[in-house]
Symmetry: C4
Subunit: 253 residues, 4 copies
């Protein structure tokens, strides 16, 4: 395997499908959202992608067997819509690898005449916020207008969109594909089902897809408990620190 | 996109044009100077360059849309001179990428019979100096003589010229192109319109191009205010530090 | 040498051989086990592999001569079984290099119709444990069952298997090869003949190969002495540290 | 320039020439020795090598002009011997680059039927020693015997030989070339003409080449003065430190 390789398992007949991408990234937000969607839609795998630009290891699964690292393409038909879902274990390790893999992904979906791309991810705030996470959108002007009606905040001149979520849109546009990137606010260092939930809710809302969200909601509540616990511990530590400083001030003063 | 790719939008008929390069670098000096020039000359874009050696992200623009990272070629005709201006969002991430992109740039400009190259950049001093920044020149012997008359300091045996500003001249010479690199003294960590102004003034002076500098002068004054503020804060901090040390010396002594 | 290159010295006629891999890694466990095996089986070298993805140096040997870095293929016939043993000085320096070299290795062994792979390595615990190291197995389900009978612990959902030990199994499966990775518990920063011994004992036990283990046992005892010494020094240091803390507490209290 | 490129300026007729390599490395020992040799032999440049694996900058020369980074091949005939000398500004930045450039070098010298290689370098000790630096040799067994008679210490099982000095010998052997690497003991962080002198003295002694060493000896004395000065300053600092510790001990005790 000198180059990124795609193994096509089957060739589903799809009618103007959209792509929904959720590869690993900040808070695993995109991956969690896309994986929930493909489970609820009973999506079927039709292609696998391997790359020498992936990390040089294999993953150990729950039953002790090994799993080579891959990106995987699934498809589903729901509410009259055809959907291609891209998920995976990893993203490439080098910039050059990112470009090669994204071009391979675009080669695959171009064959199915994909014209719209929705890439999902997280937006790191570094805060353990209690408030409902915002969903930030960047990308195609017309699509942004539509998503804004569903509560998406349009990000103006923020930081760059790194990895597949950004490159798919940038390089896809050169092939006539249009799309937007939806980013859920997340701490950044915590696996965040809550951010995944809000991102997915916005997406299915706009697309008019109906799915059961209960499993994701349950996990989102667990994420909330985790965040609560961390927040309380940090406040406790901060209070102790302040008291210690006051006592020291007393002695020194 | 396995390799650096150039998308030629139009083929202007140019008469012995010169190249002026201003890609991002130290203090953004070259980029600011070249972008001001292309705005004032109402230069037209005729080619775009993408590369898998660029960083693996896309930029978010002021209106929330995305912009793939590019280097861009513009052209203009002014005072009887044809000018090609090269600007862009980024430079490559690896040495190998730098060589590949610079060769692609040279391939483009060779078609237009470019024989003279002017690369613009900053020269980091690490100082928040109040004095007018010097413009340092390195490169072709005959050109340096000419620029010295316009106040350019010839740098003798200094540090290397890194990235496109240096490689364009080095690899260009192997194709019979001659040129110099003009570097404006700058702090290094501050976006510096002031250094951009002095570099551009020297360049248009030697080339005999007349442009309106007022917009750049205005921004240069803002840079000056920023530098003033940082300088004052640092002096204040240094004075406090000295006083604290004197007080401690009093107690200990 | 633009690509990984294999120099085939001879083409032994082998009957459904298995591959045993022991390249350098954690605690040198796999390398030590595989090298002991090839010495005891008087295995013969039949191919050498060089790669531009290896580190850019040459090794100095005990007699002052130089040795280019290589991976080496040996073969042996024992107890009616044909065995290919892969050992070497290094592994590649980049992920891309790992993929290229592992594919080259698979190209070689595929010619000999290898269907089973046994990759050997260490499993870092960071502890200077006195207990007999466990041997952990991951990989093919049916093989794991067999090895479990010989005392191998099946690892469920642990960390990834990095380098050739993992990639050979992952990429080999795409070519119809099945195998497992045996990892001996080891500190991680100490060359560990003891872990090599337990790994090799399990492997030859399952395969029904009989070899003299005395040389490896001798070196394993040396490793044990080294570990004992480090453990005692660390305990001594910890005790001193505790006493110092108690004394300080006395004064401060 | 996608690949390492050699520009052949002239094709000298050489009779079984030897190669002497001195590219930049530890203490610049090899480079200084080889450059002194080529000056004294009035060697002529016959080829230049550029590479996209070199650092992405150009050097500024004493007169303010720029110099693309290169490796350069010179030849000379002296005392009935034909010599090829390889010097240069840099070595590649990546392992893969090192392999590519060394193969290109071997391609060049193979055309001239080079059978013997002498690579020169430094051997870092981290000490500002006053004693005459030792010259350490590694490589071909027969050649080492000869050099040992001239005072070369044969290094047994030491650290690896990094970069061109090692790879030229390792990969050259695969082409039937034999040679040794001569390393002068040096501090490692100081440009060391003294180590260059001892390495060159040994080499010309064995080869039976007579050259004027006075210029190198002069610079070697300067290096010695530099080392003396650093040594004295470090001793002074160490003494001050000791005195301060004794005084503190007096007060605390």
């Amino acid at each position: 395997m000198e180059k990124t390789t795609v193994n096509v398992i089957s060739k589903p007949k799809l009618k103007a499908p959209i792509l929904i991408e959720g590869l690993p990234g900040m808070g695993y937000v995109g991956k969690l959202a896309a994986e929930h969607l493909l489970e609820e839609l009973h999506a079927k795998k039709f292609a696998e992608l391997c790359s020498p630009h992936f990390p040089h290891h294999v993953a150990v699964q729950a039953n002790g067997t090994l799993k080579p690292l891959r990106n995987e393409f699934y498809w589903a038909r729901t509410d009259g819509k055809d959907v291609v879902i891209l998920v995976g274990d990893v993203q490439p390790v080098s910039p050059e690898g990112h470009y090669e893999v994204v071009e391979s992904i675009l080669d695959v979906i171009e064959q199915f005449n994909v014209k719209q791309l929705f890439t999902l991810g997280g937006y790191a705030t570094g805060k353990y916020s209690k408030a409902k996470p915002r969903v930030v959108g960047v990308g195609d002007h017309a699509l942004l207008k539509e998503f804004r009606k569903h509560g998406v905040t349009v990000e103006k001149g923020g930081g760059p969109i790194i990895g597949a979520a950004g490159l798919l849109l940038g390089l896809g546009r050169l092939r006539g594909m249009r799309g937007i990137c939806l980013l859920g606010e997340t701490h950044g260092m915590v696996v965040d089902h809550r951010a995944a939930q809000v991102v997915l809710e916005v997406l299915v809302g706009v697309l008019g897809i109906k799915i059961d969200m209960s499993a994701l909601e349950r996990r989102a509540r667990e994420t909330e408990h985790t965040l609560d616990r961390i927040r309380r511990e940090m406040e406790l530590r901060a209070r102790k620190e302040r008291r210690r400083e006051e006592e020291e001030a007393w002695y020194i003063g």
